[in-house]
Amino acid sequence: MNPIQHLQDKLPATNTRVEQSSPRRVNDAIRAATERSVRRYADASKEEITRRIDELDREWDIERTLEMNAATLACTGAVLALTVNRRFAWISAVVTGFLFQHALQGWCPPVPMFRKRGVRTAREINQEKTALRILRGDFQPTSDASEAFRQARCLCLIVMCALPSVASACMVCDTELGHQVQRGVFDGNFTQTAVAVLLPFPLFILAGAAVHFGAPKLMAPSKKQPTQNTRP
């Protein structure tokens, strides 16, 4: 196989690499914000939805934000290196190095900061745009969809947006579903449930002890002549 092709296969996918390298709770928060936004436009007019889509078209995604950030720092480093001290060239070197890492892995030091502040990937912005376009009726053959159908469609979209977080349910997951599980386990009845679940085990030990002390009686020889066990 072509070594470049091999390297590309090993690296995360282009459109999901930033999400893959972001903490789950940050992705969940962004997803929740998208859901809220879509829900807000469930009853909005076509004009309002169109205005929102235009806003989304102008929204800066993570790549554009990083490009501006890196270009500003690298340019500043280069100018300072040329005019003040050559050592400022290190700023440009470090910044472009991290930009290279971001191109490969979808992570560089400013990414967590931007993601925490809600800067989305192009894919995440497009998800909201697609949902809004469906709400606007872009994909409908007729424009007179009933209100009930419109609500049901909106609900489907919200569920679609929420689907990826469903898989992240565990006792130690820092997600809404994970917290739900923790609340379900450590509720007010935790002690009673633990006692109920573990109750058979002390009885097993008692039964084992009874077997131990009852064994000599159980194995008391019968009246008939004992047989000698012979070993091969």
């Binding site: 097993f204 064994a215 194995m219 020889p221």
Partner: protein, 164 residues
């Protein structure tokens, strides 16, 4: 006579604890995980949402942890029994004790969890059903079968010299 000082109790006790542990794992692995007929709290927390399935999974884990402890006790007792020359090493007694332990598990767990506390039932889709009684019956059958297997060896003697 050396053979009069022989004792079966350590082997039977070790086998019983191992039987309890292995019986617990049969329940946990076969019914909870492979067939997914029930989970620890499936009668109280129905498996209708992912959160509820995870809650059941947590309590399944607690159950498995204690089952593991029973098995560990059994292994420790078996290890001690193996080092004693006055314990006859009889396969039929050991297998009988394993069944005795398995039967005790089914009987005690069935009475407490299925009948008294209603934490779960063998076939949860049917709630309290004939399968709960079959589970109890299997416990009684294993206990009786295990005791019979053990008692069938009571006249078999092994001298200390043989054990060495």
């Amino acid at each position: 006579m050396e053979q009069n000082t022989m004792t079966h109790a350590p082997l039977i006790t070790a086998g019983t604890f191992l039987g309890i542990g292995m019986g617990g794992f049969v329940d946990g692995i076969l019914f909870h995980q492979i067939l997914q007929l029930h989970n620890m709290l499936s009668a109280k927390v129905p498996k209708t949402t992912i959160a509820n399935i995870e809650i059941n999974m947590f309590w399944d884990g607690m159950f498995h942890a204690l089952t593991w402890v029973m098995t560990a006790i059994g292994i420790a007792l078996l290890w001690k029994a193996a080092r004693r020359v006055d314990v006859p090493w009889l396969g039929k007694v050991f297998v009988g004790a394993l069944f005795l332990g398995w039967g005790l598990f089914n009987l005690i767990e069935g009475i407490i969890d299925h009948q008294l506390l209603n934490l779960h039932h063998v076939y949860e889709a049917q709630g309290q059903s004939k399968f709960d009684y079959l589970f109890l019956l299997s416990g009684v059958v294993f206990i009786v079968g295990g005791l019979m297997a053990i008692r069938s060896q009571r006249d078999v003697t092994v001298s200390v010299a043989d054990r060495r």
